[in-house]
Symmetry: C2
Subunit: 258 residues, 2 copies
């Protein structure tokens, strides 16, 4: 999982001892420069620094700002273009596309989005979305899962139970939910795993849960696993709803962290 990497703080490039001046984009070692530039620009756009419709600085300006070559800037811009964040035309430059064109379900865009000012609202939106998707996914999984897929789900559940650190537990939790999406047999549901990933990652902040709460959550997960194992779609559906309701409670009862 590249989640770990994403969690690292991005200090000035580790291995970035460049002849002429330090890189003006934050890099983490091993990352390629165009990726960093794309991250930086993408984050700024999603964060709202450049509202939709705004003309962005031109390639030469980015190139100066970040002290990288124009090719790097161009490759970064192409990546953002591929995610629907912007469009360019000769003589006019690149401008930010309206939000409805953004590929919000893209892993990167979602990451940038989840880090933007309205974190609380974001989490609420994601939860609402999960309410729509996950119960149905579980129901489909209960109807169509293969034995391999079932094993994957069960294993993730077990790893949730035996996890020693909260981080490990969260990772296993994510695997559990994503495995269900996979078992649903609908390819279009799989890309939504990034959502859950992101949600649980955000949720991570809230979880200073005590043991009782954790045990309860575990039980709710077990119910889902059981329903899918026994191939009971309707039971699976409502089990997921219960889990989500519980998650909502956790969010609401927790004080909002910075």
């Amino acid at each position: 999982m590249q989640k770990k990497k994403a969690r690292e703080s991005a200090g000035p490039g580790a291995g970035a001892v460049r002849p002429a001046g330090l890189r003006h984009v934050s890099r983490i070692s091993g990352t390629r420069v165009h990726t960093s530039v794309a991250n930086e620009i993408g984050q700024r756009i999603v964060r709202g620094d450049y509202p939709p419709g705004t003309i962005l600085p031109n390639e030469a300006q980015w190139s100066n700002m970040f002290e990288v070559s124009r090719s790097v800037v161009r490759e970064a811009i192409k990546m953002l273009m591929a995610k629907g964040l912007l469009t360019s035309r000769p003589k006019v430059g690149s401008w930010v596309e309206p939000r409805e064109r953004w590929n919000l379900l893209d892993r990167d865009v979602l990451t940038w989005y989840s880090a933007s000012p309205e974190r609380k609202a974001f989490l609420k939106t994601v939860q609402e979305f999960r309410y729509i998707i996950e119960p149905e996914a579980a129901a489909l999984a209960a109807a169509r899962r293969t034995d391999e897929q079932m094993a994957e789900i069960s294993q993730a559940l077990q790893e949730m139970g035996t996890a020693t650190t909260l981080q490990d537990r969260t990772d296993a939790d994510t695997r559990f939910h994503v495995a269900i999406l996979r078992a649903s047999g609908n390819e279009l549901l799989m890309p939504l795993g990034v959502l859950i990933d992101s949600a649980l990652d955000r949720l991570f902040v809230f979880t200073t849960r005590e043991v009782n709460s954790l045990r309860h959550a575990q039980k709710l997960h077990e119910n889902i696993e059981k329903a899918i194992r026994q191939k009971k779609p309707e039971t699976a559906r409502s089990a997921v709803r219960k889990l989500l309701a519980n998650t909502d409670e956790v969010i609401n009862s927790a004080k909002i962290a910075p």
Copy 2:
């Protein structure tokens, strides 16, 4: 809507009178070369020419194959990378990522996907997905729609009714459904508009519907609009389900077109 553009057949570049040889990628005038290259490579990947795990030709080879510069190839590859189709590393090259990493809900990927061999299966998957999403979206819309959003929905409906060509009708149909997604008030639902877009586009092939069938479909749409207008979530939900069921019927009763 750039839907029109997507429907054009892609003959050898119109304005592509190049000094040395014709472009080896199909272009439509106005398109940029890197876009065409990305399209070509992306299509091949999604179509299955290069199964996941395969090492792709290297940049120099693409450059030769398409008779374009390496920078163009690189920009194209960056776009595909941004869509999760591939990853590259020095000395080893670029390889196709496993399908679950693909950003299937991306507009382009979806277009390539919908054109790939298993069209029928694709349509079925999309329909199943719509069953999950759209009823809930309509229910949310019924609960939260603003008057502007309502106007948008109603207008699309009306344009559906007065459309003279099947193409116009399909476009209005798409607008209708997307407007509902927008009115749902959940930003994450909006990107799914591309799905509906794609689905109706595919469906377009099937629709040699006679007048009666069209009139019936129109009525079903009206029911949805009415429920949202009257702010009745439960009614909206079931109205959408009825429409989708009708769509399924159309698909199943139609002979599969080439």
